[in-house]
Symmetry: C2
Subunit: 205 residues, 2 copies
């Protein structure tokens, strides 16, 4: 295969936007999720994230990263300081456009739910907003955060509840994504719909 080679010294010479696109897309596909949070004054916020990562099953533990917060704090970060509960919600083909727009900076008093016509869903007394249309909705409580090398923040949350479209759960507990319209992301703005190629077996390690 014919390859392009980039060494660390070349990185500085790359055009800024080209480099951002490139470095954001080389890790492969990323999950596409909307994260919902609520301020202490009950202002709700929802924003798109592609950095959700599975950390453990017992207890159910997920993480996601926030960009550096030293210059300007995002509503997601501010809300999580005031209220530890948050939700992670899947994004499907039909809602790509409005989900994508949620990365825009809205002033604190505007709820993206209202502004972008994303229908909110409340479950029992859980103190953060879910996204009604999402096939997978997860309610979590923040248990810790880590300040990383480049001032990004890793937020770790424990799963409190899970609400899933009944029709996409397989007998063995796996989600059958071919029965859903759930998408993934590459880079900053390319949305892909995956199709199952191969289901193997668990390799006992």
């Amino acid at each position: 295969m014919e390859c392009n080679y980039y060494d660390i010294l070349d990185f500085q010479k790359l055009e800024k936007l080209w480099k951002i696109n490139f470095i954001n897309s080389i890790t492969g596909f990323k999950p596409a999720n909307l994260i919902g949070t609520r301020s202490k004054n009950n202002k709700d916020n929802v924003a798109i994230f592609s950095s959700v990562v599975h950390l453990g099953s017992n207890p159910g533990l997920l993480g996601f990263t926030l960009r550096p917060q030293d210059e300007r704090q995002t509503d997601t970060y501010k809300n999580l300081k005031e209220n530890s509960f948050f939700t992670i919600n899947s994004i499907n083909i039909d809602s790509i456009d409005k989900a994508h727009q949620s990365s825009k900076k809205y002033t604190n008093d505007i709820s993206e739910f209202t502004e972008l016509n994303i229908e909110q869903y409340n479950y029992k007394k859980f103190n953060a907003p879910f996204v009604r249309d999402s096939d997978i909705k997860i309610g979590l409580k923040k248990v810790e955060q880590h300040l990383l090398y480049n001032k990004c923040i890793l937020v770790v949350g424990k799963i409190e509840n899970i609400i899933v479209n009944s029709s996409i759960i397989e007998k063995d507990g796996n989600i059958n994504f071919d029965k859903s319209k759930i998408v993934c992301i590459s880079g900053l703005y390319s949305y892909y719909k995956p199709k199952l190629i191969k289901k193997l077996n668990y390799v006992k390690s």
Copy 2:
């Protein structure tokens, strides 16, 4: 939509394997990568990971998580203690089976490259092994690690070099995955091939 609801108290009642499959698949799609490391005695190791996450573009910074290492240390973890350099390599359709088998525990003296017939690639004097067939190969140096809530470890690495199949790089720096055979993972053993649905624009936030 008809939904299944699981509250934190229900989690304990779920059958163990069902629960592992379920909690591993609810975050959506995960990148599929082979991580290559080298011990101080020049023993090479390669293992599959679905937890690679983008952390920053300037400097280029990526992370990935390791399972808890207190009971048994993996070769990836041990090698990274001895030698900070590692590689992240994409997985394509044709190599799913051998990549998947790399999650098996081999004894320290066995190289998965040899055992699984994964062809190794060395680049200049970079002190970790790449995977020859991978369309995207990234060389990194570990800069820090974080012990997380459940004893998982987040390893953070700075990108030192990038080698990419020339035919899949777009003019704007994005990878065009439709021109590659690169796959993603859901859960522990389901491999998906994504197809581009929509490329939007960067939303200035």
